[in-house]
């Protein structure tokens, strides 16, 4: 690693990611910064509900375990930790981090908290149209749980420039968590669109953690990956101009090459020429990957241009109750018996007039995943599960449907086994745009222990 480069790693690509892999990343690769990206679209709304029940709750459920594991090696290696695990309550997560830092022998570690992403009142007032479903937030009324804007890198940069060694945020655009330490390290101008675009590119490549280094890639016999039980997490050695070399810790499993990098580069992109982010509109069309051997890949060629004038906001809302269950069949005629079971269920729901908002049935093993012409026309499958899922308005309707699924034991086709069902509160999300100047990010430091 050349003296001028800055090594940044990814310690988690989602909340339930492996924790020991992040310890290995810090111990063996000793990055200057490690980012933990743990916030899915719906997670913040769930966290808001948890915070309503307990004012000290509402952050990532794995925060304590993960921080307890990574703080000691990070303190030893001098690694800065950046994470959106604060979810709906970064301040409470910061207080817990203070106690964990003291346990790790670093009671004065500078810990910063970023807030200001919650924009529920602004969204209620502006009532902007939804981007991805009909209507506006007002049509959902009291079902709305929360609205959170995707913040850009600026508040994280501010925290780092003021000396933070741990930065805990709520909703921040995933690539911005990686872009921020690069801006702070290299003093990139925030209108240096080429470098900002490259920083976003590095963030986008790293943000799904092991998905860059051979996770979510193996297809035995066609695409083999060594030692997935010890998958190494990725890092980037970033140069002052924003070009970088990607790597993973020595002695770890996985693979890093043109194919793993290209699959991840295009993951979840809607337009490779216009990746809309709060800090820039990034353009990945001229990105090039060069394999350097031994799990090292050079990435060059990203660029960017000014961002949109709006910020994306995720609105979380209560969406009824989802009930899901099934029963399994084996042997000759298994598919026909599963289809009969599902027909019986539909008829019972109709006859009892159980109110259903939305209903879907599948035969797992035949057509629960495959789509279109990929579904085999005459399946000779002998091990299947009949599955029913429905959205209903309340728990009573969910329970009535669950009861019908269980009743298939004695009232359904021959040989049914493993009947079971469960119900959960539905929580959905939709997106709106709001003017960026209405959003006011705030940075604060957690008081020493």
């Amino acid at each position: 690693m050349a003296a001028q480069t800055y090594r940044i790693g990814c310690g988690a690509g989602f909340s339930a990611d492996r924790i020991d892999a992040a310890v290995t990343l810090i111990d063996r690769a000793r990055p200057q910064a490690v980012v933990f990206e743990c916030l899915a679209e719906r997670t913040v709304a769930r966290a808001v509900l948890a915070r309503l029940a307990d004012p000290e709750a509402g952050f990532d459920p794995w925060f304590e375990d993960r921080m307890r594991a990574v703080l000691p090696p990070a303190v030893a290696a001098g690694t800065t930790l950046i994470t959106n695990m604060g979810a709906a309550n970064p301040a409470a997560a910061g207080r817990l981090a203070r106690r964990l830092a003291a346990e790790a022998g670093a009671p004065h570690l500078p810990i910063a908290v970023v807030e200001g992403d919650e924009v529920t009142e602004i969204v209620r007032r502006l009532d902007p149209p939804f981007l991805d479903r009909p209507g506006r937030p007002s049509v959902l009324g009291e079902a709305i749980v929360s609205a959170h804007a995707y913040l850009g890198a600026a508040p994280v940069v501010d925290a780092l420039r003021r000396g933070a060694r741990v930065v805990i945020t709520g909703r921040v655009a995933d690539p911005a968590l990686f872009l921020a330490p690069l801006i702070a390290q290299f003093d990139w101008a925030t209108n240096d669109w080429e470098r900002i675009g490259r920083g976003i590119l590095i963030g986008h490549l790293l943000e799904c953690a092991g998905q860059l280094t051979g996770g979510y890639f193996a297809d035995p016999g066609v695409k083999d990956v060594a030692d997935l039980a010890e998958l190494g997490l990725p890092f980037a050695d970033v140069e002052p101009d924003g070009n970088a070399t990607l790597g993973k810790p020595e002695g770890t499993g996985g693979r890093l090459d043109r194919l793993t990098c290209t699959e991840q580069l295009l993951y979840e992109l809607h337009d490779p020429g216009a990746y809309l982010q709060p800090d820039a509109t990034a353009d990945f069309r001229s990105v090039r990957f060069t394999e350097l051997g031994s799990d090292r890949v050079r990435v060059e060629g990203g660029t960017g241009r000014p961002p949109p004038a709006t910020l994306k906001v995720v609105v979380g809302y209560r969406d009824g109750v989802v009930v899901e269950g099934g029963i399994s069949y084996a042997g000759e005629g298994a598919v026909a018996r599963a289809r009969l079971a599902l027909a019986i269920l539909r008829e019972r729901i109709d006859r009892r007039a159980i109110p259903v908002l939305d209903l879907r049935t599948d035969v797992i093993g035949v057509d629960s995943l495959l789509r279109g012409r990929a579904v085999a026309p005459d399946p000779d499958v002998r091990d299947v599960r009949a599955r029913l899922a429905a959205r209903v308005a309340d728990r009573a309707s969910a329970r009535a449907i669950g009861h019908e699924i269980e009743a298939l034991w004695l009232n359904g086709p021959a040989g049914g086994g493993g009947a079971s069902w469960s119900a959960r509160e539905g929580l959905a999300v939709a997106s709106v745009l709001i003017p960026r100047d209405l959003v006011r990010p705030m940075v604060s430091f957690v008081a020493p222990a």
Binding site: E41, R42, L131, D132, R133, Y216, F217, D219, G221, V222, K223, R258, L259, T262, E263, Q264, L265, L266, Y267, E268, L269, H270, D271, P272, G273, R285, S286, V287, R288, F289, G301, D319, V322, E324, D358, L359, R360, D362, I364, S368, L369, L370, R371, G372, R373, A374, R387, A389, A390, R391, G426, L427, A428, V429, A430, S431
Partner: protein, 113 residues
């Protein structure tokens, strides 16, 4: 029978009710062949009726890849869908099951090991 899986890898992604499918040539030399054959119309026809909206295709010759963006493909999106795989993560392998015509297979550089 030969399928797209012989020639390419694929990864699905999701944003709201839109699915994305990245298709990457295992041998970059096969990109012109694949780009000529794997049109947006062909993808839409193969996955229909699961895709309710438009299918757009982005060409990435420098990466030897194609990106398909499928609107209305996720039954309302991951937070509303009642599907077993609400993200549509498995969609990539539905697409990779697409039969490969003999003339494409004989001209391809990449062969399944």
């Amino acid at each position: 029978m030969a399928s797209l899986r012989d020639l390419a890898t694929a990864r699905s992604g999701d944003k709201g009710d839109t699915a994305t499918l990245a298709v990457v040539c295992r041998d970059p030399a096969d990109w012109p062949l694949l780009a000529g054959w794997l049109t947006a119309d062909r993808v839409a026809a193969f996955l229909a009726p699961a895709v309710r909206g438009a299918v757009r295709r982005h060409e990435l010759p420098a990466l030897a890849a194609l990106l398909f963006v499928l609107e209305g493909a996720l039954e309302g999106g991951v937070t509303r869908s009642l599907a077993l795989d609400p993200h549509g993560k498995s969609l990539a392998f539905s697409l990779l099951a697409m039969p490969l015509p003999e003339e494409i297979l004989t001209r391809a550089r990449c062969r399944r090991p």
